[in-house]
């Protein structure tokens, strides 16, 4: 089970893995600001530096928060909701 060993190896070094991930994120945004041309942009708003990073992060947070809010309006309910109590 070499694959499980690899996962264990990474899990034991969670801090380092996290740091690498944050580094990748920062590098990605930086490269985008410095090197990627905006010629192919469809709208003006995309010219904001690292626009798609902001879009991804804000979008994700919005989806989670709004969905949870919606779920707690009464959409999420107990698992036996549909079970017939008469039987």
């Amino acid at each position: 089970m070499k694959l499980a060993k690899l996962i264990e190896f990474l899990r034991d070094r969670l801090k380092a893995v996290t740091l690498v991930c944050i580094g990748v994120l920062a590098l990605l945004a930086l490269l985008d600001i410095l090197f990627v041309s905006n010629e192919e942009a469809h709208t003006a708003i995309e010219h904001i530096p690292a626009f798609w990073s902001i879009f991804g992060f804000v979008g994700c947070v919005l989806i989670i928060v709004l969905s949870k809010w919606y779920g707690h309006l009464g959409i999420m309910t107990r698992e036996d909701y549909y079970e017939d109590k008469d039987e």
């Binding site: 990605l28 994700c60 309910t77």
Partner: protein, 601 residues
Amino acid sequence: MNSFWLHPSLILILGSLLLLLVPTRLKRGYLLLIPILLFARILTMARGEFGQVHILQWTLVFGRVDALSSVFGYIMSLMCILSTLYGAHVRDDWQHIASWFYVAGSIGCIYAGDFITLFLFWEMMAFSSVFLIWFRGRRESLFAGYRYLLVHVAGGVALLAGMVLHCNAPGNDWSFNLLDVHHPTVAIYLIMAGFILNAAVPPLHAWLPDAYGEATFNGSVFLCAFTTKTAVYALCRGFAGMEILVVLGVIMALYGVIYAVLENDCRRLLAYHIISQVGYMVAGVGLGTQMAINGACAHAFAHILYKGLLFMGCGAVLHMTGESKFTELGGLWKKMPWTFVFTLIGGLSISAFPLFSGFVSKSMIVSAGFEEHKYWVGFLLLLASSGTFLHTGLKVPYFIWFGKNKPKQETWDRAGEPPWNMNAAMIIASALCIFIGCYTPYLYKMLPYPALAAEYHPYNAYHIFETLQILLFTGLGFFLLLKKLVPDPTISLDMDWFYRKGWRVFLWVAHKPVQAADTFIGELYRVAGLVPLMLSARVAGLFDNEVIDGAVDGFAESIRGIGRRLRFAQRGQMQQNLAFAFAVAALLILAFLWYSNALAR
């Protein structure tokens, strides 16, 4: 009839009938042979119109082979090989027969050149796929199957009504081509309702998570590929450029994402993401440009593979552990690491990571939206793809294979890598997902407008950076808000509430207003009894006692009887009843068609 043309569905139908006769030791080989023959037949089929049959006044076209039907036929038959391989160790022949009939129905729809043929295969799909839910054998799956069937029969009736109205209108015939989407009639809307019900467009979508979460572990792998994508094909064929589909598609894409946040069952979560992904395709059909139709077909192609792969991964977890709820799973990386990798590949493909299949297909639809200057379509679809990665790329793998939750000891002991054939199916599907993402001409050459597709280059710096930023920063959001995403042991109410709880409203109506009316009428009788028309009152009373009460009591008694039978009905008996009911319905339909055409002459 023109010269003999072997319909690909016939291979599956004959193959499944012979399956019962094949000796056990040859069965696995046979199970692979038939889908491979199907695939070979589809690969070798020449373009053109074949299999024309004249019945009464109609010309049925069983084989319209053109660019659009070929790409769908190709991927459907390829998926049939993979799904059959995935479930090849299942000993129950009837499961294989049901799934092959289901695929045969889907392929029949794709090559159908007229509405009657389309409808026959359309119904064949519904009536064979329901067995993939029933064979799970749970009490819940029995009910889920009935709901699935009832919803699809309702959709079929809408489709049939639309067809009859449309095709009998002056100037129309029964051939199935692009409809007049800019001047839709009631008939066209009815046909569209039948199609979008199968494509699971809200509010006609609740059957999908209900059924796919409840089907057998391999049944869902079949289900996730065929019904919705056959509907996408039908929409591409008949409704390209129908404006309302753009709006519906975008709503779908986001709707699935929202419900996926709330979902605790991994297969139901994937089912909500089918709705989300089919939303892209429906929006593509609505945009209707060549680029958008290319995108819808490409995305359907890629989707069938990665969604199949995801259902294979979660199906493997269900098959091995008996659990599919996040709250009952966790930390499985030690026991099923390879299943994790395959599921992750499916997750990266659906999220449209560069080098994976979704990247080269989804972006076509998004670009088509931007090119049409429908910016809101582009941005909202990109928002949905952030949600896709959030759930399928992160939530599913994290809460099954990692997470803080510890499964029960017996779940843990049962867990392990699945049998070789399941692994093999997942390896091939993973390889195809990566291959499509890396080598674009393979898919692009098959699309309905290959010349246009060849000019499309998804791999440019701007697009790669756009996608990577959206996805990776979604990942950041996921880990920062991880606590909010820990699944709760709940279910989420959806549109199925209306037919699952609606009967209570019916009961309430029966209890309250009908009873009040009854009391009121009784009072009237009493008052009327005071006036000197005693005789008529007595007659009325007699009528009330004997006829109305008798009828009401008798009706109630028979409903109770039916209810009692339904409650204790064994599967076999009900299936016979349904088959009988369907046969009668089919005869009635044929009689009606013949009659209406005879009138028209």
